[in-house]
């Protein structure tokens, strides 16, 4: 209670969110009387970032910086326009489609939002889309990254649950497509509401020129995909290789990248990633303190006492996950929730662990874009130069779309389970 009150109070007082989490963890230590935890607090703050998987964040932010100054994004978007022809809200669909393709390569929302903000937002703004709506579409598209395989979240879940990661990936395909389709519908509706500009149908010579100009730029996604699929690099390293390709193309082919830009990019990437990373560090400390007091296990026991129906349990769980997703990040949340909830779900309610994992991961992914603590939301706001509060409001229809898909999955688990069964 005290902690919940402090949390809301501090947020309203406009204390930075990362510090709100750290302060609440501290308050909770004193409230629970477990002051011995104070000795581990700094180490736990450091330890929250000691995770190899997090390296993808600064690296993809760096890649985004290079793509921005190297003139890569502009040409790739021009290519998409040249291919697409005349469609109302064309660029918005291009944005979502590009996100879907990126999602099939990347597994991290923040990484994807970073890249797509650089690629799509400036171009959409130039064509007359409202900037905030463009950023919102880009942020929503980032949600596809951890749902469409490969996915960092599914992998972490698979390791905790001792499940075949391949099965989880396959199980994520249908929900990923459903969310993609739901987002298409939302964009159609937004296009109507905001009167999105129609993409122009270019004459053939202009089209050919756009394609020719984009060919070197296409080297960058090709480098990223090729080095991952070829087993040369894992996704984090592929971002480093992609950055090299970007520097080469930007400096020597397009001649837009100056040496000074390269130096500045490192500082900018450090600054942007630190804001997100520091938030993850304090979110981890917060989860650790909550876990230490055994709160998740008590909640699991309480839920178990309330219902015998798997459906009701899953619905209650989803409400709980949404609340947890609001105040923390998916990775700490998974470590917080899965070890206590999974045995209850499979043991007491007989729920399929693959299905359970997909629902949990999709739900927690949503938390990336919900205030007050949403790393994806903040990244999009930071990269797009839009206020997070404004962005959260614009994202509402996308949230509703994802919630509808979650509800569909919970009521009809076959949507998740049939594909792994067939393949």
């Amino acid at each position: 209670m005290i902690v919940g009150g402090s949390f809301i109070g501090l947020v309203i007082l406009s204390v930075p969110i990362a510090f709100v989490l750290a302060i609440c963890a501290l308050i909770y230590i004193f409230v629970s009387g477990n002051t011995v935890l104070l000795q581990s607090f700094p180490q736990q703050l450091f330890g929250g970032l000691e995770n190899y998987g997090l390296l993808s964040l600064p690296l993809f932010i760096l890649l985004g910086e290079f793509m921005n100054v190297g003139g890569i994004g502009r040409r790739l978007m021009a290519l998409a326009v040249a291919i697409l022809g005349s469609v109302k809200g064309g660029l918005a669909y291009v944005n979502l489609g590009a996100n879907m393709m990126m999602a099939a390569i990347l597994g991290s929302t923040v990484a994807q939002i970073t890249i797509m903000s650089r690629l799509a937002v400036p171009e959409m703004e130039k064509q007359g889309y409202p900037r905030d709506v463009s950023v919102a579409i880009t942020a929503a598209g980032g949600l596809l990254a951890p749902i469409v395989p490969p996915s960092m979240l599914f992998i972490i879940y698979g390791v905790i649950a001792q499940l075949p990661i391949g099965d989880l990936f396959i199980a994520g395909i249908v929900p990923g497509i459903l969310i993609f389709l739901a987002f298409l519908a939302v964009i159609g509706w937004l296009g109507h509401k905001h009167d999105f500009p129609r993409s122009e149908s270019l004459p053939l010579p202009a089209r050919l020129r756009a394609i020719a100009e984009a060919l070197p730029a296409a080297l960058i996604p090709a480098t990223i995909i090729g080095t991952i699929l070829g087993g040369i690099a894992h996704p984090t390293e592929s971002a480093a290789l992609g950055s090299i390709a970007t520097i080469i193309v930007g400096a020597f082919i397009y001649r837009e990248l100056k040496w000074r830009d390269i130096l500045v990019a490192f500082g900018n990437a450090a600054r942007s990633s630190a804001i997100v990373l520091f938030l993850i560090a304090t979110a981890t400390v917060f989860s650790w303190v909550i876990t230490f007091e055994n709160i998740p296990a008590q909640v699991a026991a309480a839920m178990q006492a309330m219902t015998a129906s798997p459906l009701v349990f899953m619905l209650m769980l989803n409400v709980l996950l949404l609340m947890i997703g609001m105040v923390t990040d998916p990775i700490p949340a998974i470590i917080l929730i899965v070890p206590v909830m999974l045995p209850v779900a499979t043991g007491v309610y007989g729920i399929d662990p693959v299905f359970f994992g997909v629902v949990v991961c999709v739900n927690l992914t949503l938390g990336l874009l919900t205030p007050p603590v949403g790393t994806g939301l903040f990244t999009a706001a930071l990269m797009g130069g839009v206020r997070a509060e404004r962005l959260a409001v614009l994202l509402l229809p996308f949230f509703v779309a994802v919630l509808a898909v979650i509800l569909l999955m919970v009521c009809f688990p076959q949507t998740v389970t049939f594909l792994p069964g067939v393949l």
Binding site: I17, Q39, F46, L49, L55, L59, E237, G267, I275
Partner: protein, 197 residues
């Protein structure tokens, strides 16, 4: 939500020369970003070395661990610097609705809370490092045996150095973040004075 410094300058309605503390804080922040950028470059090179090494069949087993520590140091350095520019993400819905003076008071209150936390963090880091007791003990091993505090014994897994070298970023962060926070509080006070006149 970002860079409220600009709006606060407009709020004062007048430009006064920055104080010595403000200049020091900003200079420190620039140094932090510079160092973080250099370490970021190093991190980038390390990952490229890792790919190259593995490709050539000579994986560098220490790269992953060092890369992670570099990332942590970058995060703390630049997170401290972000305090100077007020770039940390905060929900400013309430202060946006308030009068300039009330918003200034609110900002002062938030900064004071932040300062209290940073001092608490500095204190926690102090009891963890326990430098006076450690210096008084005959050896660091003896210190660990007496105090059950193994901070100076903790090894890294693949780097062959003690982990405490990397943990040192925490006292650095506690100090620099406190300096940035004090500079913000001073700025808040000057602004309030200016707005009151």
């Amino acid at each position: 939500m970002e860079n409220t410094v600009q709006s606060s300058a407009g709020l004062a309605g007048q430009v006064r020369p920055p104080s010595a503390l403000a200049r020091f804080s900003t200079g420190l922040a620039q140094a932090e970003i510079l160092l973080a950028g250099v370490l970021m470059f190093l991190l980038f090179v390390l990952l490229l070395a890792n790919v190259t090494g593995r490709f050539l069949g000579v994986p560098l087993i220490w790269v992953d661990e060092l890369a992670v520590y570099l990332m942590v140091i970058v995060a703390f350095l630049a997170a401290a610097a972000a305090l100077d520019a007020r770039q940390h993400i905060a929900v400013t819905l309430l202060s946006d609705m308030m009068s300039p003076r009330a918003a200034g008071l609110l900002r002062l209150l938030a900064d004071l809370i932040l300062l209290a936390f940073l001092l608490a963090l500095a204190w926690m880091v102090w009891i963890w490092f326990d430098p006076l007791t450690a210096a008084a003990a005959e050896t660091l091993d003896a210190f660990a045996a007496q105090s059950f505090n193994f901070i100076y014994q903790e090894p890294t897994v693949t780097l062959g150095v003690r982990k405490v070298w990397f943990w040192l970023i925490l006292p650095v962060f506690a100090v620099t973040a406190t300096i940035h926070c004090l500079a913000q509080i001073e700025a808040d006070l000057r602004l309030l004075k200016g707005a009151g006149r």
